[in-house]
């Protein structure tokens, strides 16, 4: 395990997908024996950079050098031979195999001991050395998530990794497990390994890293020494300058009316049994756009689904336009007046393999005039489609064509055309402009702003600029809780950025590392 601590140097790295750069001329230095935090919003290019470094993607241009020597990784195996290993957020383990079997899986016969007994004892030694305790003979399905992560790390160490890239390693861990992970990471660094820590969480990054690099929209927004920076500065690097975001000009004298959507103490169980939404209470009124800011995976999806009736809350009450919809299904919430633009356009918002006329009446197919006594009227459906296509400027449809062949902007307009019918009272829109080109995004945004004149809107977005642009009230969500609420005239982007990464005012003001107490604002 000994040897010089590695030094990884990245210059001018660019990688595009279908002509859109995911990372653009990125420079990045990983010094020997350091823990380097890599921060950025979703889509900032963190995963792309890591995938290039671990040999999964090949860059379009730019160089990577290891200890002064230029390298080109042709595959993850190739990167592994050079001592670079990646631990993904979603583990790549075979459930029915043992720990030791998983660790040698994919290794060439010549690279590994012949007997599994020998592998097991080597794994046990390695686990002891780094404090990554796990039974080498146990099957993966018997292990906790934290143990499975240790197996992934051991897998890389076993292959001789000196540079470890950990992709959001704490996202799946409970507090004590997080502590143990960071103990193991410090052991690794002490033994001359270098670690790249991809993270969304400000507190742990501030507490455990030596240096921090922030990616923003595919470019390096700066690399700083952790000891000489503040969470506020890093947040500003991640989310941009307060002055950059402008509010869209609209009638400031807008009257705010009665509640259109009220949540009171709503908690929701997530897919893994933990609380995904924890005690959410807020109200969206007529004439108001409420924006929810937050890094993805902090309970936004579950919150949307519970409002739409796709999930049941474990506690609390939900009212839509005066109707109690706490345990209503999606049909009832729509009847109560909820228009819902889901995050997944194709697959949830639209049935991808079916034509536009089918999708446009997806929620009204069983009502007059689209059907009578259970029999569909093709002519009435076509009439509705033509009217809405005209009104919402949906382009690119041909008769009978499945909608998945239409562009993202037109798909979103088609969903809006269906959801913004005469009967709705409140619009729930999730990531409404994600992946759209400028013109389409602007069109979608203007539909949302128009809603405000007569109805209420709740909009979720990872794009903080967009939230600030359109919202009258901004809520910040972190780890399932609403950790902040700002009226549009008292917006503080720095503060919002800090809350989004889980550090409130108390962390900004002190330098004490408190990685586990990240429940800011609770």
């Amino acid at each position: 395990m000994a040897g010089e601590a590695p030094h990884l140097k990245v210059r001018n790295l660019t990688k595009s997908f279908y002509g859109v750069p995911a990372i653009d001329s990125v420079d990045f230095d990983l010094r020997g024996g350091e823990i380097h935090g890599l921060l950025g919003e979703n889509g900032a290019g963190k995963s792309t950079l890591c995938s290039v470094l671990s040999g999964l993607y090949r860059p379009d241009s730019g160089t990577v050098s290891l200890d002064g020597e230029a390298v080109q990784f042709r595959s993850p195996q190739d990167a592994s031979r050079h001592g670079v290993g990646m631990v993904y957020q979603h583990f790549r383990l075979v459930d029915s195999f043992t720990v030791a079997q998983n660790i040698v899986l994919g290794m060439h016969k010549k690279q590994r001991p012949r007997s599994m007994r020998q592998v097991e004892s080597m794994v046990a030694d390695l686990a002891e050395e780094f404090g990554l305790h796990v039974d080498p003979t146990a099957s993966i399905w018997q292990l906790s998530v934290g143990e499975q992560q240790r197996v992934e790390i051991l897998k890389q160490l076993f292959r001789g990794a000196r540079i470890l890239i950990l992709d959001e390693p704490t996202a799946v861990l409970a507090a004590q497990e997080t502590d143990r992970l960071f103990e193991a990471i410090s052991t690794m660094v002490a033994k001359g390994h270098s670690v790249v820590l991809v993270s969304h969480k400000m507190a742990e990054t501030m507490a455990y890293t030596d240096r921090i690099t922030v990616l923003r929209r595919g470019v390096n927004a700066g690399s700083v020494t952790t000891a000489s920076t503040t969470p506020a500065e890093v947040a500003r690097m991640m989310f941009g300058d307060s002055n950059a975001a402008e509010r869209t000009n609209y009638d400031a004298a807008q009257q705010v009316g009665e509640p259109m959507l009220s949540l009171s103490g709503v908690s929701v169980q997530g897919d893994h049994g933990l609380l995904a939404v924890d005690d959410a209470t807020f109200t969206v009124r007529r004439g108001q756009i409420v924006g929810v800011a937050g890094v993805a995976g902090n309970g936004q999806r579950e919150l949307q689904e519970v409002i739409a009736g796709l999930r049941s809350p474990v506690s609390g009450t939900i009212e839509i336009a005066g109707t109690n919809c706490t345990s209503a299904g999606p049909k009832q919430t729509a009847q109560a007046g909820l228009a819902y633009v889901p995050e997944d356009r194709l697959g949830v918002g639209l049935a991808p393999g079916l034509p536009l006329e089918h999708n446009i009446v997806l929620k009204s197919y069983d009502r007059s005039p689209h059907s009578r006594r259970g029999v569909l009227s093709d002519s009435a459906i076509e009439k509705t489609m033509n009217e809405l296509v005209e009104k919402f400027d949906v382009r690119g449809n041909r008769s009978g064509m499945r909608v998945s062949l239409m562009s993202g902007g037109n798909l979103q307009k088609a969903i809006l055309a269906r959801e913004l019918n005469e009967d709705h009272q409140v619009l729930l829109a999730a990531a409404p402009t994600r992946g759209l080109d400028m013109a389409a995004a602007e069109a979608v945004r203007s539909h949302i702003i128009n809603e405000r004149a007569t109805r209420g809107v709740l909009v979720f977005s990872e794009d903080l600029d967009e939230i600030v642009k359109v919202s009258d009230v901004v809520l910040v969500m972190f780890k399932g809780r609403i950790v902040g609420s700002f009226a549009s005239d008292e917006l503080d982007l720095d503060e919002i950025g800090l809350l989004m990464t889980g550090s409130g005012a108390e962390i900004a003001s002190t330098d004490t590392p408190t990685a586990t107490s990240t429940r800011a604002g609770s």
Binding site: G309, K331, V348, A351, Y365, L376
Partner: protein, 373 residues
């Protein structure tokens, strides 16, 4: 030079593609078959002429083919309606047996003097219900515990087969005729037998064709079918739109089971005229799956595909009489099935050659298959 095959989805599929591609595939299969026939030492032209004459040339041949197509249409529809929702009912075979058991029970239990229309209606209803209930044995675990219906419906086939064999061979059941030296079913009274149209062709063919039209209407023109098609395409979108995926899963499997069971009613009442396990176990349920796949789960497509497969099957014995092995007949059937289903890919996609330097422009293809050409 290294070129790439470029695969692009077709936006809209016109009728020339929808009918042209399967016909082209058929021609291709016949051509391949001709080569195989020639290798086997047969004259392909004579063989194909014999096939045509014995199955489609003249009313006698046609009625024989249609008689064989009757149960295939029904089991084909059974598979097609489930496939429309991407539920894979492999249990048509067993559901058919249950239909035969139920219908023959009614035929034997009601007085022989019951008027034929009443008798046949009762047999159809009870047979269909028996098949639907049998399918529900797989549908309920599927709906509530997401148990894989491919496994459960397949397994239920073996249970249904054993049940039918036991009723005739293993017990002195109500269905068994004790007077026959070789175990067999009691013969149904005349009133429980489907009237013949011509020779072996009976009114079951009318039931089958009416069922095909009804099913097409149900799937295409009703809000119930709208939901089935939505769930088949995207269960998440269906849930989002407030449809009950669970209820529809059970309903569709029950309907599918009922259709397969009606094939059993038609066979027991129109062909075997009693519960005869050996005659009933001719893989009609499984062949229905092939029919549905080739017909792309379109109920109206099921009718011609069934007739086509039946034509190949009826010509089998005549082909043997001119010296062609039965295996070669099966081989031809397999070839046609394979080419027509493989042709499906060309119905939904276009394939062209692209030079590497041009492949970077335009919209992204769904997949690129590297090929050294």
């Amino acid at each position: 030079m290294r070129n790439r095959l470029r695969v692009m989805p077709r936006g809209v599929t016109g009728p020339e593609v929808r009918f042209g591609v399967p016909l082209g595939a058929l021609a291709f299969a016949l051509l391949l078959g001709a080569i195989i026939l020639a290798f086997a030492g047969n004259d392909p032209i004579e063989a194909y002429r014999t096939m045509f004459d014995s199955s489609l040339n003249g009313w006698k041949a046609q009625s024989r083919t249609l008689a064989l197509a009757t149960p295939l249409i029904l089991t084909g529809l059974a598979a097609a309606v489930a496939f429309q929702m991407r539920v894979y009912n492999i249990g048509g075979e067993g559901q058919l047996y249950l239909g035969a058991i139920g219908a023959s029970w009614v035929g034997l239990a009601l007085p022989a003097s019951t008027p034929t229309p009443l008798m046949l209606s009762a047999m159809l209803i009870v047979g269909a219900l028996a098949g639907a209930c049998w399918a529900l044995l797989a549908a309920i675990p599927k709906a509530y515990f997401n148990a894989d219906e491919i496994i459960t419906t397949l397994m239920l086939n073996f249970i249904a087969l054993s049940l039918m064999n036991w009723l005739i061979f293993g017990s002195r059941s109500f269905w068994r005729d004790p007077r026959r030296p070789v175990p067999g079913g009691k013969r149904l009274p005349e009133s429980a037998i489907m009237p013949s149209i011509s020779g072996r062709l009976h009114i079951g063919i009318i039931i089958a064709i009416v069922a095909a039209i009804f099913l097409w209407w149900l799937l295409r023109k009703t809000s119930w079918g709208f939901q089935i098609r939505t769930i088949g395409d995207s269960p998440r979108a269906a849930r989002y739109a407030g449809m009950s995926v669970r209820r529809k899963t059970m309903a569709v499997l029950a309907l599918s089971g009922a259709l397969a069971a009606i094939a059993g009613v038609s066979e027991v009442s129109g062909v075997t005229k009693g519960l005869e396990p050996i005659a009933l176990t001719s893989n009609i349920g499984f062949t229905g799956i092939i029919v549905a796949v080739v017909a792309r789960s379109n109920p109206l497509g099921v009718v011609p595909v069934s007739i086509f497969l039946a034509a190949i099957a009826t010509s089998g014995s005549r082909l043997q009489s001119i010296g062609i092995d039965v295996e070669v007949v099966f081989l031809l059937q397999g070839l046609i099935f394979l080419t027509v289903t493989a042709g499906e890919f060309f119905v939904t996609n276009t394939v062209s050659l692209a030079h590497p330097d041009t492949s970077a422009t335009g919209s992204p293809p769904t997949s690129e298959i590297k090929a050294a050409i």
